[in-house]
């Protein structure tokens, strides 16, 4: 049996500053693969749950009575839970492939994750339990839970990635100093506002493809209103990001034209929605989300969490990564099962492709489709 760890040993510090690992600074191919895969999982999550969040955020605005709100919720009814699994797997993959990224990110941004979890819990039970009782008050309460449970994570996930790329006051021991002011910074708040806006737009475009009947006209009008606002927010956000990246001398890869492409795509939605090309608009918002996630991960590389104290204190991919054996096991499992999961998840999207209408014989007034 291997000898146990002496009580005084601090695992996290030992790993962080081990000379053996510190000496091999090159990111291996498999470490890079898993860094990209974690990015892909987040991108998939933001693409899919992004429109779920958007639907939840728009629920109280577009849905004016209970049958309308039910129709909106049923647009994501069969799929939201599967979409949410993407983040669970992203976090699980981070734990497996980059244990220190997982432990330092979650323990240092503790209250952010706590708030996200509470929001996701409220949202999940609200979907499932909302229809279980025939009471107007019961349903209104759960509608509120869906709104808060969608808006909060949409904002906080942005705040998280704003923190990771701009940097938090991460010390040599892997802890963040300075309390909440080191985490809730103007830049992180702006990043959160950006994801909130982009997901809301993405959700509205999704609904324009998914609802049927008189609600379509109302949804389309919302897309046309949200698109220019989102473009403006994104423009401000990307401008500031470029300015900061220049002044910081950030070590990360420069994402080049990718964020510009995201902005162009979102601006294009303004035009596409006027031309009633909502299918293309959805492709555009989706591609913009993928481009923005790519921007974040390219900026972050070769680190996983930036330290705002000194770049040398940032948690690098090499320091955070698991050993080759673990990465090999993970690579084999992912190679076998990921295609399978993608196939059956896509298949359910195909099965539930029909537009959802507000049922007749309810007391809602018909509107013209515009």
């Amino acid at each position: 049996m291997t000898s146990p760890i002496p009580d005084s040993t601090n695992t996290a510090i030992s790993v962080r500053w081990s000379t053996e690992i510190g000496a091999m600074m090159h990111v291996t191919a498999e470490q890079l693969l898993w860094f990209i895969l974690v990015g892909v999982l987040w991108a998939g999550y933001f693409f899919l749950e992004g429109f779920d969040f958007g639907v939840g955020i728009l629920l109280p605005f577009i849905g004016r009575n209970d049958p309308e709100r039910r129709a909106l919720i049923n647009c994501i009814g069969p799929i939201w839970d599967g979409n949410e699994v993407w983040v669970i797997v992203a976090i699980g993959a981070t734990f497996a492939a980059f244990p220190l990224w997982y432990s330092e990110m979650l323990s240092n941004l503790y209250l952010l994750f706590f708030t996200v979890i509470v929001a996701l819990i409220l949202r999940g039970v609200a979907f499932e339990w909302r229809g279980k009782r025939d009471s107007a008050r019961w349903r209104r309460n759960f509608d509120l839970a869906i709104f808060i449970g969608s808006a909060l994570p949409a904002f906080l996930w942005g705040l998280l990635f704003g923190d990771l790329i701009k940097g938090v006051p991460l010390t040599a021991s892997g802890t963040v100093v300075g309390g909440i002011s080191g985490i809730v910074t103007p830049y992180a708040l702006l990043t959160g506002l950006t994801t909130l806006a982009v997901f809301t737009l993405h959700g509205s475009v999704f609904l324009s493809l998914k609802v049927g009947g008189y609600l379509r006209g109302r949804v389309n009008a919302y897309v046309r209103r949200i698109a220019p606002v989102t473009a403006l927010v994104l423009f401000v956000y990307l401008s500031i990001t470029y300015l900061i990246a220049r002044s910081d001398g950030h070590s990360g890869d420069v994402p080049g034209m990718i964020p510009v492409a995201a902005l162009v795509l979102i601006v294009a939605v303004t035009w596409l929605s006027r031309e009633r090309l909502f299918g293309w608009a959805f492709v555009a918002t989706g591609a913009a989300i993928l481009a923005l996630t790519a921007t974040v991960f390219m900026t972050l590389y070769p680190d996983t969490i930036m330290s705002s104290i000194r770049p040398a204190l940032s948690l690098s991919i090499t320091r955070a990564a698991s050993q080759p054996y673990t990465l090999n096991v993970m690579t084999i499992v992912a190679a076998i099962f990921t295609p399978l999961v993608l196939v059956y998840q896509a298949w359910t999207y195909w099965i539930f492709r029909k537009r959802i209408e507000v049922p007749r014989n309810t007391n809602s007034e018909p509107e013209q489709v515009r």
Partner: protein
């Protein structure tokens, strides 16, 4: 240092609260899922409408629990890093993969196919609809398997070595982790417990519903199916529990010694069934069965069972000074409550089988009462079983490798106070809503066979709208 100790205590309370709470809903979801899948299979092959009504009725209970099981499971994925960052850094190479694989294999499967099952009845063929409930069930079982393989590694580390440069445990043999002796017995134990929980619930509620004449034939069938599942699983559990006890004696002798409150190594040790008084030196009253502990632990009449004092001395020699004894009263009693309930349920199920054989099952008032009392029993056994498993490992978080005190995050007590309070309040509200919804659904009258089938959905469902 004081702050670190407060953080440790609060983090332990938080983990206990969130995990015990999560596990209230997990076994019943797994068990109900399998029972509903069995009943839907019976409907698929026989076309008997009674089976369809049972699927609709118990499917509702399944979904109410599924929701809360899923959302409280989200916490599990995050809280190792939030509260136990040093533990996560130490075990990530080994503990991370099962969690990630659980997400990829199990969570996608259960969520996607459950969505298909709930919403897809009119959109897919009956065969695909049946397949979807089985796939969702399989997802819950796979999920249990992967998280148990991770937990079993903490109980009994295998397939690893310690990397000297970083003091991390790293994986050397994934297959060894998946065939860990503790894992194999724990998986069966947990799945059987889940089947007992689901079957006991269906049995009790079916008996309750049988009071109503118009739907009596439907629920009489429910009684029979659940009784058979309950009997088979509790009988298998008795055998599995015995094997598991022996594996524990082998791999975690201190846990078993504490569970039996056996202070000194004994040959031909007797088993105490019940104790009044202080376990250590002031026993007031005790029921003991001679030689039973040795027989159970070693299969020998006069087999030697190691005691707490000798094991403590061995651990001090091996790991250095320290207290290696878990909380004895907690382990002694949680073990007894769990095992006692297991025996009680086997008794109830055997009695029911005998009544069924004599064709007196539906008329027995006393058995109906027993079946209703039987509903909460597995929940209590599930909880006490895990309290025994997790506290019996203390002071270790990874047995023999990392102490719980060294695994906690370096965060301020205030942070944990906020989250502990938040989770406790939120969970209390959710429990209240869940139980009230369950009680409503369980008491609700079902349409008789002459009336149209309400299916899974209620409250003026319009078209395909479910939520």
């Amino acid at each position: 240092m004081l702050d670190a100790n407060i953080t440790l205590t609060l983090a332990r309370w938080q983990f206990a609260t969130t995990t015990i709470y999560h596990f209230v809903f997990v076994p019943v979801t797994i068990g109900l899922g399998v029972v509903v899948a069995i009943v839907q299979t019976a409907h698929y092959f026989t076309g008997d409408p009674r089976y369809e009504r049972l699927v609709g009725f118990f499917g509702k209970l399944f979904l109410i629990n599924f929701a809360i099981g899923v959302v409280t499971g989200i916490v599990q994925e995050f809280q190792f890093g939030m509260d136990w960052a040093q533990y996560s850094a130490f075990v990530g190479n080994i503990f991370g993969p099962p969690l990630a694989i659980e997400g990829l294999l199990a969570f996608f499967m259960e969520s996607v196919f459950l969505g298909l099952w709930i919403f897809g009845k009119d959109r897919v063929s009956p065969k695909i609809h049946l397949l979807s409930i089985w796939m969702a069930s399989l997802g819950t079982i796979l999920s249990a398997a992967f998280i148990l393989s991770a937990n079993s590694w903490m109980q009994h580390p295998v397939g690893y070595r310690i990397l000297p440069s970083t003091h991390q445990a790293i994986m050397t043999n994934f297959w060894a982790i998946l065939t860990n002796s503790i894992f194999v017995v724990t998986l069966f134990h947990t799945l059987l417990a889940a089947m007992m929980t689901g079957a006991a619930l269906v049995l009790g509620i079916s008996f309750y519903q049988m009071r109503r004449e118009s739907t009596r034939p439907i629920f009489a069938l429910g009684v029979r199916i659940s009784l058979i599942v309950l009997f088979a699983s509790s009988l298998a559990m008795a055998l599995d529990g015995h094997v598991q006890g022996q594996v524990l004696v082998q791999d975690q002798p201190m846990k078993m010694a504490a569970g039996e409150a056996l202070y000194n190594t004994t040959k031909g040790a007797s088993e105490s069934l019940l104790t009044i008084g202080n376990l250590h030196d002031q026993v007031i009253f005790q029921i003991r069965v001679p030689h039973l502990l040795s027989l159970l632990a070693t299969d020998k009449w006069n087999g030697t069972v190691q005691g707490i004092n000798q094991l403590q001395a061995q651990d001090v020699a091996k790991y250095g000074p320290g207290n290696y004894v878990p909380v004895i009263w907690l382990d002694y009693w949680s073990f007894r409550i769990m095992a006692g309930i297991g025996v009680a349920i086997l008794g109830i199920a055997s009695w029911g089988m005998w009544l069924m054989y004599r064709k007196r099952l539906d008329a027995s008032k006393w058995f109906r009462r027993a079946a209703l009392i039987g509903i909460p029993l597995p929940f209590i056994a599930n909880t006490t079983g895990w309290i025994f498993t997790e506290t019996g490992r203390q002071p270790w978080v990874v047995y023999g490798l990392l102490k719980t005190a060294n695994g906690v995050s370096r965060i301020s007590p205030t942070t944990v106070i906020i989250s502990l309070t938040g989770f406790t309040v939120l969970y209390a509200i959710l429990a209240w809503i869940d139980i009230s919804l369950m009680a409503r659904a369980a008491k609700k009258e079902t349409a008789s066979l002459d009336e149209p089938d309400p299916g899974l959905h209620e409250h003026g469902d319009i078209g395909s709208l479910v939520y």
